[in-house]
């Protein structure tokens, strides 16, 4: 059937039906069109196909570039610590001022009203321009210098304080960690530095210097509960709970502040009155009469040549201070400008003197006419006696008389009192002062203040509500000021009172205070954000934030990564060098040699690295023999090479008995040649895979030891990611998470990248191992 048919058909095919294929042709293998693929090229092709590994290599490349380049690009140096920007949050410039909380240098704070106002106050204070102009609240809120970037929540909270229920206004806001510093006090500036700042302000248009806060004004400034660092942010009137207040002590509400701003409490440095000009050295006002015009113009910058203490006034003579009372009148007039005044009151008890152009004469000895010509002050029809306690006198008909004498002499009778008042109109002040003491007005008579009780004083005259800090009985000229037609003493009055009494007088805020020997050092109040720019020529922006010491985390991370790379590469090289030689000898010679060498590696394998690192540190680093880095390298290398050695040994066992080795040996190859030319190359794949895993291992261990503080790289010239982690933990991960999180992220990324890269390399070099993860 089927078979039969087949048989029938093909059973006998004639030979001539066959034609040999390729008859008379020379057959050769076709030459390869492509080049042969080498071991490494093959591996590279496989590696390229592994997406994860390629991405990982790119990440590693970026990290390496970061470690190399970042220190050159960064605005900051490794050892550059900004004390006021400790813990500054990460910020990028394009997110600045957005209030989004994303990389804009802010963090969230929940605080009571007082603190909220204190921060907003920085913005209001930064707008000071020399006048008392009221600032626009919108402008304040959007100000760059406003640390409050966004108010998230405003609520009321009931607290129990001292057993009482108190409702507290609270705010939750995003606060900029760069601007929250606000104003600070800078001490010890030289005059030159001060001028440099002024020049810089002009050049850039940024304001650095702000008036000093009047910390002596007990009504406006509460020193007790404030950290001195932040005192300069309390430039406004506030009470002991730090509430903003007005001058009557009423707490300002937010609405009032929005409308009228805060009440400034700046120190007035320069005061001009009709009887002279005064400079303030921060505590006392000094007369500057006798200073040149230029000196007066820059009055606030001078320390007067005039001096006064409990012994009396001093004149500046021949480069030294001499007690004025020891000089003759002539000497007084010639030696010091100050004594060129035509009127003088000595600090003694003998009263006032006038200078008639020739000599000083005692007022009491002169007639009224003489007085008038000698000094305009005495041109008044009214005077106070210099040594009586019996009230006031008018100068009438060439004679001083009291009210009753005046009543009789004028013949006015009962209506004399109106006329009396008219004559003495400018003396409506409640208070007046004469050389023999203060007087206060009681209905229509002046009473010597010293005869009154304190309570009476207080009820009669408001000035007696003040605390006077000098002996009022012996007022000295030059410490008075003119108010309401009467001279009052400046010493003892607060700036506020001076301003209140003399609104028309030219006042200037005190921009600095002199300290130190000869007043050579200046203390100023600066807006730190701008002062930082003046000092460093750059805006403070820390890409990854600043750590607890104010170091830039970004640049230190780059140095940390650099240390990790350098360390791991050196360790890998050392491991390879020792491991290859050791493993080759072991594998090639085998037998007894191998056994002994194997025991050595096994013992080494039992040594915990932590112990070796510690011993190296204690023995060599603490005694100053080697650096910490060297110790770490040696410790890692001392234990690390065994893995390479055993890998090489294994490859030798696999290949040393193969035929090609035998063939080479037969041909007379030396041991050295056999080892390194014929057998060792087989181990290269394993070794490459190995070092790709050793690098993350070394980085991980280094981080581990420096985190534990066994090796401490916390310096200005070197740091490690582990040290940064430890520092971050000390600073407090709950409050300043960025100090830990950035190093942790970089380290994590690095470790993941290296492991992926290592997996890729292993798959590429040993395709048979693909998929098995270890």
């Amino acid at each position: 059937m089927k078979t039969d048919r087949f048989d029938n058909k093909y059973a006998s095919i004639p030979a001539d039906m066959f034609t040999p294929v390729n008859k008379d042709k020379v057959l050769t293998d076709q030459k390869f069109d492509t080049k042969p693929v080498g071991y490494l090229t093959d591996a590279w092709r496989r590696f390229k196909k592994n997406k994860g590994a390629v991405v990982a290599s790119i990440i590693i490349l970026i990290m390496v570039l970061f470690a190399i380049i970042a220190p050159f690009c960064s605005n900051y140096e490794m050892d550059e610590a900004s004390g006021y920007y400790k813990h500054a949050r990460p910020k990028v410039s394009f997110m600045d001022n957005t209030g989004t909380g994303l990389w804009d240098g802010t963090y969230v704070k929940d605080q009571p009203f007082q603190d909220y106002i204190n921060y907003v106050g920085i913005a209001i204070g930064s707008m000071y321009d020399g006048s008392d102009s009221i600032c626009d609240w919108n402008e304040v809120e959007s100000s760059k210098y406003n640390p409050i970037k966004k108010v998230l929540k405003q609520y009321k909270q009931t607290l129990t304080m001292h057993g009482e229920q108190v409702v507290e206004d609270r705010y939750e806001y995003r606060i900029d960690s760069y601007h929250e510093v606000g104003f600070i006090r800078v001490e010890g500036l030289t005059e030159e530095e001060y001028n440099n700042i002024l020049a810089w302000e002009k050049e850039t248009g940024l304001k650095v210097l702000y008036p000093l806060v009047d910390t002596t004004n007990a009504n406006a400034f509460n020193q007790s509960n404030l950290n001195e660092v932040y005192q300069d942010n309390y430039w406004y009137w506030h009470d002991s709970n730090n509430n903003p207040i007005d001058k009557d002590g009423n707490i300002l509400t937010l609405e009032q502040i929005k409308e009228n701003g805060l009440v400034a409490n700046y120190r007035y440095g320069y005061v001009e009155t009709e009887d002279g000009q005064y400079v303030c050295d921060g505590t006392n006002y000094y007369d500057i009469t006798g200073l040149s015009t230029e000196e007066i113009v820059s009055a606030a910058r001078l320390v007067s040549q005039y001096k006064k203490d409990s012994k009396g006034e001093y004149a500046f003579k021949d480069g030294d201070y001499v007690l004025a009372s020891t000089l003759t009148e002539e000497e007084q007039a010639t030696n010091t400008d100050r004594y060129k005044l035509n009127f003088v009151a000595t600090s003694g008890t003998d009263g006032e003197y006038v200078f008639d152009g020739d000599q000083y004469k005692k007022v009491a000895d002169l007639t009224a006419d003489q007085l008038k010509t000698a000094y305009p002050r005495y041109a008044s029809t009214f005077t106070l006696t210099t040594n009586s306690k019996d009230g006031k006198y008018v100068f009438y008909n060439g004679k001083y008389m009291d009210f009753f004498e005046y009543q009789a002499a004028s013949g006015l009778g009962m209506s004399a009192s109106a006329e009396w008042n008219k004559i003495t109109e400018k003396y409506k002040a409640d208070y007046t002062l004469s050389a023999d003491g203060d007087y206060v007005k009681n209905s229509n008579a002046y009473i010597l203040a010293s005869t009154l009780s304190d309570a009476q004083k207080a009820s009669l005259v408001k000035y007696y509500n003040l605390e006077w800090n000098t002996d009022r009985k012996n007022p000295a000229p030059g410490t008075h000021m003119y108010s309401n037609g009467e001279y009052v003493r400046i010493v003892g009055l607060s700036d506020e009172e001076i301003v209140e009494l003399m609104p028309k007088y030219n006042l200037e805020m005190m921009m600095y205070r002199r300290t130190g020997a000869g007043g050579k050092n200046l203390t100023v109040r600066v807006l730190y954000y701008n002062y930082y720019q003046y000092l460093n020529d750059k805006e403070p922006i820390f890409l990854f934030g600043a750590d607890a010491q104010g170091y830039d985390i970004f640049v230190r991370l780059a140095y940390g990564a650099r240390l990790s790379f350098v360390l791991s590469i050196i360790v890998v090289i050392l491991n390879l060098a020792v491991g290859i030689v050791y493993g080759s000898i072991q594998g090639y010679y085998g037998g007894k040699v191998d056994m002994i060498m194997l025991y050595i590696t096994q013992i080494l394998g039992g040594v915990p690295t932590i112990i070796l690192v510690t011993l190296f540190k204690m023995h060599f680093v603490d005694t100053g023999k080697i650096s910490q880095l060297t110790a770490l390298i040696l410790a890692f290398a001392a234990l690390g090479w065994t893995a390479d050695a055993s890998a090489v040994r294994m490859q030798f066992y696999r290949f040393k008995h193969q035929e090609y080795v035998l063939a080479a040996r037969t041909l007379g190859a030396s041991d050295f040649r056999l080892i390194f030319k014929h057998i060792f190359p087989n181990a290269i794949g394993t070794l490459i895979t190995g070092w790709a895993f050793v690098i993350p291992g070394v980085i991980g261990s280094e981080t581990f030891y420096s985190y534990l503080g066994i090796i401490n790289f916390n310096g200005t010239d070197m740091t490690s990611i582990g040290t940064m982690l430890a520092n971050g933990q000390t600073a407090g991960i709950d409050r300043f998470p960025h100090i830990v999180l950035f190093p942790a992220l970089i380290l994590g990324l690095l470790m993941i990248a290296f492991n992926l890269f290592g997996n890729g390399l292993r798959d590429a070099f040993n395709p048979s191992l693909r998929g098995s993860e270890d």
Partner: protein, 322 residues
Amino acid sequence: MSTLKYILKRFGLMIVSFLIIMVICFILIRMLPFKSEAQGQAALVEAARRDALGYNKPIMEQLWIYAKNVITKWDWGVSWKIDYMADVTDVVGDRLIPSVLINLYEMLIAIPIGIFFGIIAALKKNKWQDQVISTGVMILISVPSFVYAFLIQYVLGFKLGWFPPVASSLADAGGSYFSWTMTKSLALPVLSLALGTIAGYTRNVRAELTEALTSDYMLLARTKGLTKGQAIVRHALKNAMVPILPGIIGGFIAVLLGSVAIERVFAVPGVGNLYVKAISLRDYDVFIYVTAFYTFLGLAAGILIDLSYGFLDPRVRVGGGK
């Protein structure tokens, strides 16, 4: 017979290694200068005591005294800095419980979870479940545990406030390591430790089970009529566990080792923290004792793992020669 010989050989090598390491360590430590912080009368007493204990004799003689004390009296010296004049065995003993506790809890949590994820990943190989698990494993294996411990501490401890961010002291926990306060405060260190271990077990189980699932005996099991589930549980899983078990056994020895970095992150008053403290305070006797402790446990765990391979897997013959 050869197995017994191998075991003896391993033990011998272990003891030799241990002795060599300890002798080197002892000599290096005793060579370091000792700085006393005691003053006045106390300094004199201390100096006299040190003299009496032979600290001023030549190092080899010191070694002899030390070895003699350890062997005859189990006297490992006293702490000079941490717990002044307390026996180091007591000093370490006090801190052993928290270390063991966190590691024990960690093992108990990590083993079942790790095996569970490993099985899922192997069964769903190359599906999304496997990819998610493998990615997680890769991250957790690569990143050192103390690095993500920070993250755990920050998120769970501080931000969400679910657990105490640091371990309680014994006094706060009511004087017991087993009180609820203490257990709760140990949650975060346990979790931080467990994540790495879970990842390790997941990876190993996945690899072993994948291999088992593609074996010929699985095909046989299916052809003889077992369902897929039966085949996996009775055959694949059983075989896949063989290489996993030695690791688990070794792990239980390692519970004594504690975890230096994690203990430091969470301020656990354990051996790891003690060790770092001994280094920073230069409390040399404590350092030597903890070193001995660590070295011994490390070597013992290694041997136990190797030997258990032989007992669990008849295919592995230990010490079988060439």
